[in-house]
């Protein structure tokens, strides 16, 4: 009896005190992020005022960028999307489309439209991917930047991206989805944080080595290994020939919640982390990476469920293990527009995979957590992710169960409970509103008041409608990881921009 009492006393103490401290800490971290991201956004806007990107467009010394865009059964939109990628504004780039074993006529359409012929291409498999069958180049000079790789289906975007990296010629690669709409000046804007650092150089370390007689050297510069930018939902935007002509928040509820979530995650979250060089992840939807470091880190893991976060973590680990300074940068302007899951079913699949991926990354890189050898990665990025991203759904869900328990057993103090609920609710509203305000500071994306207001209102609905679903999907992902349940990657039924809806394709990819 005594033991039972002690147990319940511990549980009660945990939820009424420890969790409160945990919750307040989380909210304070968000407040800190809001301040940091404000600094970052202001700094970016201030610097951007005087930047003339046109000066750089004609320069022959800009580093080349390979755009890598995997395509699986994208027949409906592939031509428009490839054309859109080919018209980006940058002096030196190539577009590598990886046809990842499409079962429709994606490849045939590209062959016909872009006058492609098979070439004997020296493919160098520096990182693993499923076999490449053929590589195509265009006979039309207008498409000389285009390379099409036809490969065996690798059951993941990561595997296709690896094949693209192996084919690429330039020192940087931009990973994106072929159905994303990328702003024309994206490459210019994303290469800038890299070029804003010093050139590569070395310094001599110590006295001549007694073994070899030479003074050893150490690289003495901060290498920007990845750059990210804000992504936004394109579901209700107007698109003409692969270009966004009118920005609108999504009309449907589920994508609209995601729009708000993306703004909060990118403009407030990642931008804030960028200020203290602690960015945890560069999105798979749009990320510019240093190819050499990505290859040394092993590229994308084709079997990972969070391949983007996993690769960024491995790149950081590689840099730390080799005693090299690195930076990961974010820019707050929206450079990429993607189609968000339009239905609960697709959202469920996507977020369950993300939850599973997070667990997987935490487990795979557990040696990094609280490890001072990994600097900020070990002492800020991973502890934050573990405590406030990974544990949050578990604590929230168990907290609700505890609430139900004390209600049933009539142990609840209703006035205090109401105060706490109101506190959490309004704090959540405040953080989201701040994110929207910061976004408005960067650029007034929406044309009308009603559109901004409509998005702001989502902040009031999110804690009640959207957030519980996200928590549930995350927990489902954790469960799937622990039980090793097979996961269907699926292929989101893209509606296309200004296209008729595609027929639903049975997902062939399972791991």
């Amino acid at each position: 009896m005594g033991n039972k009492d002690t147990f319940w006393h511990t549980i009660t103490y945990f939820y009424e005190n420890t969790v409160f401290i945990y919750g307040v800490s989380l909210l304070l971290v968000y407040a800190l992020l809001a301040i940091l991201s404000y600094i970052g956004v202001r700094r970016f806007v201030g610097a951007e005022k005087y930047v003339d990107y046109d000066k750089i467009v004609g320069s022959i010394d800009t580093p080349g960028i390979s755009i890598i865009a995997p395509a699986f059964n994208e027949s409906l939109t592939i031509i428009t999307n490839v054309r859109s990628l080919l018209t980006l504004n940058y002096p030196k780039f190539e577009v590598i489309i990886i046809n990842d074993g499409s079962t429709d006529d994606t490849l045939e359409k590209m062959i016909e439209e872009f006058s492609l012929v098979q070439v004997e291409f020296a493919y160098n498999e520096k990182i693993f991917s499923q076999p490449v069958k053929r590589i195509f180049k265009s006979t039309d000079f207008a498409y000389d930047k285009l390379i099409v790789v036809d490969k065996v289906n690798g059951k993941s975007k990561a595997d296709a991206s690896n094949a693209g990296i192996n084919c690429s010629s330039f020192p940087y690669f931009l990973c994106t989805d072929v159905d994303c709409i990328i702003e024309r000046d994206t490459l210019l804007k994303m290469i800038k944080p890299i070029l804003d650092e010093e050139e590569k150089k070395i310094k001599e370390v110590g006295t001549p080595c007694p073994e070899c007689g030479h003074v050893h050297i150490k690289e003495q510069y901060k290498r920007v290994i990845a750059v990210g930018a804000t992504l936004r939902i394109a579901n209700s935007c107007e698109v003409d020939s692969g270009v966004i002509t009118r920005v609108r928040p999504p009309k449907a509820l589920i994508p609209r919640f995601q729009e708000m979530e993306y703004i909060r995650a990118y403009v407030l979250g990642k931008m804030g982390w960028s200020v203290i060089n602690s960015v945890p992840n560069v999105s798979g939807g749009l990320g510019l990476f240093d190819k050499e470091v990505a290859i040394q880190a092993g590229g994308y893991d084709g079997k990972s469920f969070a391949e983007d976060m996993d690769m960024v973590t491995r790149m950081c680990v590689y840099m730390r293990n080799n005693d090299k300074d690195y930076l990961i940068r974010y820019i707050p302007t929206t450079q990429c527009w993607t189609e968000g899951p339009p239905s609960l079913k697709v959202l469920n699949r996507q977020r369950t995979r993300w939850g599973r991926g997070l667990f997987e990354v935490m487990w795979m890189h557990r040696k990094v957590i609280f490890n001072p050898n990994y600097g900020r990665l070990g002492l800020i990025v991973f502890p934050y992710t573990l405590l406030f991203e990974f544990f949050a759904p578990i604590i929230e869900a168990s907290g609700i169960l505890y609430y139900i328990y004390i209600i049933i057993t009539n142990q609840i103090n209703w006035p205090y409970a109401k105060i706490l609920v109101v506190f959490v609710y309004f704090y959540s509203v405040m953080i989201t509103t701040m994110a929207i305000l910061w976004d408005q500071l960067t650029f007034r994306y929406y044309k009308t008041w009603s559109e901004v207001l409509g998005l702001c209102l989502m902040a009031f609905l999110e804690p009640i409608i959207y957030h519980p679903m996200i928590v549930f999907f995350a927990l489902k992902g954790y469960y799937n990881f622990l039980t090793g349940k097979k996961h269907s990657w699926g292929n989101m039924q893209r509606q296309g921009f200004g296209q008729k809806p595609k027929p639903i394709i049975t997902p062939p990819q399972t791991t």
């Binding site: 000066k55 804003d196 070395i202 506190f423």
Partner: protein, 389 residues
Amino acid sequence: MLSFIVADSLFGPFFRKYFYYYDSYPVVIQIAVFLTAVAISATIIAYLSIIFRRGKGYLTDVRTRKINTFIDNLITDNIIFNEEILAGVPPQDVKLDLEPFQKQVFSQGWVKQALVDRLIYFANSFSGDRNLLFKRLFVELELEKLSFNKLKSFNNSTKILGLVELTSMSVAVADVLILPLTNSRNRKLRSEARIAYIKLSKNDPFKFFDDATEPLLLWDQLELFKIITTTEGLTIPNFARWITYSTNKSIVSFCLKLVVHYNQHAAIPSIVKLLDNKDHYLRVEAIKCLGKLKADDIEEKLIAIYNNQPLNCQIEILKAIGRFSTGKQIQFLRGEFIRTSDFDIKKNAARSLINHGRAAKDIVQNLIDTATADGAIILKHCMNPLIKY
């Protein structure tokens, strides 16, 4: 602790009045109530800020659009369709009618600034006679005084704005005003000051290369390169001077790029000295520069140092031999192609062999016939005109 005391003195009376039991709440609940109040206040402030910013932005847009139309009409009538310019009078002899630009409306600061912005816009859009007229108008209306005042500001952003305006309108500025700014700790100010110095200095536009202690960042190099190569009437010095003596590696690296652009063969001896530099990144730049200058006299030296170099230098040496295409190192390239298992070395050796054209035709064919399947594909890859890289 102090913040809690301050917060309590500010908000305590309010809570005690409206939340009767506030003082009797546990600390946890008191904190929750306090943070709720903060969250609600911050949310309201955020909403007001959004409304204010959008409203202000909208009004500014409307106001700017209106005044810009007015200014554009004045500029169109007086400058673009200036009768004397149309009649072929040289721009320096055209009598500018300043009266329309000195109306009461231009006494307001923001209107004056709008006029400056429009003049810069038109000056950048037009070349030749009209470009000169815009610059004359800028000076005759004494708008450059506004820009000079900005240079005296304590605010770096304002200084940058002043520099941009003066540079755009090619107004001469004393070296003593700009030179200190070329080593500013503020990155953007430093960059703009360097651009301004190159464009506006009448004495020695490259003088700041001597004193540059702060690095010339890659982005700044691109901007500066564009300015140097497009500014008319700039006296181009021999960049070997800085390649030899500058202790600022970024200046040396930048000068190597300028040497290539201006094809300064006189700088080759200075560049060759860099081959002994311990910084392999600088050596790469030097080898690249020698290759692009087609300095084939140093081909033997490059071959001699080849085996002691890291991979990036070796690749650059192979590229340089391909650029020289003297025909003397065909066997060396062939040997490297056969010997190495490194993909990048093999590919660059193949490409350089193919660059030799007819002189290496038989050897290339022989390699295709005898090489491994992978080696033959690399050769065919490099020979295919559809594949650029």
